[in-house]
Amino acid sequence: MLGDGSLERLKREGRIVVVGASLAGLRAAETLRAEGFAGSLTLIGDEPHEPYDRPPLSKQVLLGRAAADRTALPRLRSVDATWRLGVPATGLDMAAGRVRLADDDEVPYDRLLIATGVRARAWPREAEAELDGVFVLRTRDDSAALARRLEEGPKRVLVIGAGFTGSEIASACRERGLAVTVAERGAAPLVGALGGVVGAVAAEMQREHGVDLRCGVMVTALEGDASGRVRAAHLSDGSTVETDVVIVSLGAIRNTEWLAGSGLGAGPRGIACDAGCRAFDIRGIVTDDIYAAGDVARSPHPLFGYQFLSLEHWGNAASQARIAAHNMISESTDRIPHMEVPAFWSSQFGVNIKSVGVPSLGTEVLISQGALRDHRFIGVYGYQGRVIGAVAFDQARWLPFYQELIETTAAFPPPFPTVDRCSDGQRPLDADFPDPSVPTHGPTVTLGGYSPADRRMTFTPAH
């Protein structure tokens, strides 16, 4: 591509294939067209729907305030593309430059973007997972089906797992007036992402809103009645919860199985790529024509010691996709790195939770503003004497300041006074994250080397 005109030819008449037709796939397609790509563009998606937004699926849709089929993503521009929706990709031939589809069709590419995202982790016991009334929540169809069931007024809902999605579901159910039990393996809700100090606040919020929250327990079995409907769950403490709806909220699995044997550096922890979104092959050599973006990608982040970060965050998917698309049709000197500071938000039990940086890397937390007992505060996370993350409970407007502290690797604990400093903020506390060798579904950020053989984080439910 060094001035021999091949880039111009690619932009004029090349073939770009995007596998994954959700937020990242759509934003990449829009960027390609906006930046003058005039060749053929194909988007492949396993779901039959046009790109839609997922955050409302665990909030407004479950409350009945928005219909699941009304969450289409806004289009930033029109995109001339061939859409292959409802047909999953099943294989990749890197040497031939082809993507194989479930209907045995093959789609050739000059550049490939992989944005296949993640799916909900199913209940590991298949027979129990198939009981009527057992749900997961990831897709529009999941959300529509769950919302219909909640509308029928179940006597009790059991949520397995109190990560962000599980907590949001519990919140929506309580808002609808339904009886809710939450079973969480860790010591508190959100503990994997935010640690025990902040997790204790999340636990208090749940209980104040009438959730029957049970921490430190696992669900060992689901029991159905004669008609195949779930009727009870058995817990590791010997107790039984009678319930007619069970929502399995045990985190996500990256959609990389279709790449097995392709030679691409893809595995259960995602697809390793460089800061410019180019995917590595299994030998650790970066490819020239295959890119990855969104939840499925893992890339080195300069702010976090160049460790490979994998982020299941909305904003990350959108920005990484734009950068991947730009780089796909740029000379190497015009490429830009993906360096966005991680950020996510959640809304539960009437509280807006927002975080920047990577709190789960922190070992200490300082409540720099507000008070834990009010459920309105900012927690700043420190790691080896620097600020590495921050979380705000109903205090999100201050976060840009803390993001600057993270970006400038400012000292921890911050040595200055702030407005609204309370007794909680006099000294840092142990952030109280669970032992990372104990699996949890909580964190939406995971770190590690790029080797796809690295399976330490694999979730293994104990029975």
Binding site: S368, R376, R397, F416, T418, V419
Partner: protein, 412 residues
């Protein structure tokens, strides 16, 4: 002797076009003359400081007001209301703003502002209907000025028959914020104090009445609220109502007047707006960047020594954040002195940012959109009779005192 930049900002001679001074100012992003306030004029530095928890809005944290020409004199005991949430830090600020927001915006009142569309339309068309002689219109007196006061009356639930009294008090208080150098300051101060007192007593009576017979209006809901934050005291309620009135009035007047002035200077945009009223949305955003009604935020102070662009601002120092300069910063906005409603990524500072970002923003935007779209549609061939128009004294809440225009007729 050359005038300091600080005094050039305040100098009335520069009111019509302060932007060249701001350009000078941006050469020193943290500008400080001996003893005066620290003046911040570049976009990114202003935005950072608006989100900085080491910056206080509470005057009690100021080391001294001596060198700051915009510092407010301490209030006299008799008329003193507690400070509104604009002048408070968390947690007091948060509590009052949260309680005030409950009957105003989401999540508790998502339809309040949207539900006023019909009323805004009626007020605007009524004012245009009443313009009279199209040959000589003072847009300020006849349109921009009465509009927001009427809106605030309806929002708070002031009975229609009392609206004219409310207008008189609002006018007197607004005039005191904009001293005419020729008028007798003692007389003016006394008039404003009387108006404040009468307005306060009127509102106190109305609050009492609404507590007994609450309606759907904001004042009723504020007066009877019993949320997680408890209820506001009558004094807090009075100071909040006064804040809504003062902060929501002058600023909206200036947004609309600056808007029409800018459109008349850019007839191509005015023509586009006439043909497509939906353009009012990006036009108002660009106006908030190009001619923001609040030019600068004084009254902020540092809780610690902080460093900005290599300058250490000492604890207790007084800060001015010059929003209007940040909005013209070429580091952030391409071709910043061009009025361009099609500008992408227009994250201006016109409504501030951070916890004190404009409380009434959704309403102010809607008011300006309705006003400018209706003026564009109904005034036939409008033109400026005077350019630049005469301005008010106030350098902070900057806008024309009069805007004389003429047109060939008023369309129905």
């Amino acid at each position: 002797m050359t005038q300091s930049l600080l005094h050039q900002i305040l100098d009335y001679a520069n009111r019509a076009n302060p932007y060249p001074i701001y350009e000078q100012l941006r050469k020193t992003p943290v500008h400080h003359d001996d003893g005066g306030p620290y003046v911040i004029s570049t976009y990114y530095e202003i935005r950072s400081l608006l989100h900085d928890p080491r910056i206080s809005s509470d005057a009690r944290n100021l080391a001294s007001t001596a060198g700051d020409p915009l510092a407010e004199p301490a209030q006299e005991e008799e008329s003193a209301l507690p400070p509104g949430f604009l002048r408070l830090d968390p947690p007091e600020h948060d509590r009052l703003r949260r309680m005030t927001n409950r009957p105003f915006g989401p999540p508790h009142s998502p339809h309040r502002v949207d539900g006023m569309r019909g009323e805004l339309h009626d007020i605007v068309s009524g004012l245009v209907d009443g313009i009279g002689d199209p040959g000589r219109i003072d847009l300020v007196e006849q349109f921009s000025y009465p509009f927001p006061v009427t809106v605030i009356c309806r929002l708070l639930g002031v009975p229609r028959e009392d609206e004219s009294r409310f207008h008189t008090w609002a006018d007197t208080i607004a005039a005191s914020l904009d001293p005419d150098p020729d008028a007798d300051p003692t007389e003016r101060g006394k008039g404003a104090n009387d108006a404040r007192m009468q307005l306060g007593m009127y509102l106190a009576g109305l609050i009492e009445e609404r507590r007994k017979n609450p309606g759907d209006d904001m004042l009723s809901q504020l007066a009877t609220a019993k949320g997680e934050d408890g209820s506001m005291t009558t004094m807090e309620l009075l100071s909040t109502a006064a804040l809504l009135l003062i902060a929501g009035h002058e600023t909206t007047v200036n947004l609309i007047t600056n808007g029409m002035l800018t459109l008349l200077r850019h007839p191509d945009v005015l023509q586009r707006l006439r043909e497509d009223p939906r353009l009012a949305v990006p036009v108002v955003e660009e106006l908030l960047r190009f001619e923001p009604p609040v030019q600068l935020v004084p009254q902020r102070t540092t809780l610690a020594d902080i460093e900005v662009r290599g300058v250490t601002i000492p604890k207790g120092a007084s800060l001015w954040l010059v929003l209007a300069s940040g909005n013209r910063d070429p580091q952030r906005f391409e071709d910043p002195d061009r009025f361009d409603p099609d500008r992408p990524d227009n994250q201006h500072l016109g409504l501030g940012s951070g916890i004190h970002s404009c409380f009434g923003a959704p309403l102010a935007r809607l008011e300006a959109q309705f006003a400018l779209a209706e003026l564009a549609r109904r005034l036939e061939n409008p033109r400026l009779l005077e350019d630049p128009p005469p301005y008010r004294q106030n350098a902070v809440l900057r806008g024309p005192r009069h805007l004389h225009i003429s047109c060939d007729g008023i369309r129905p």
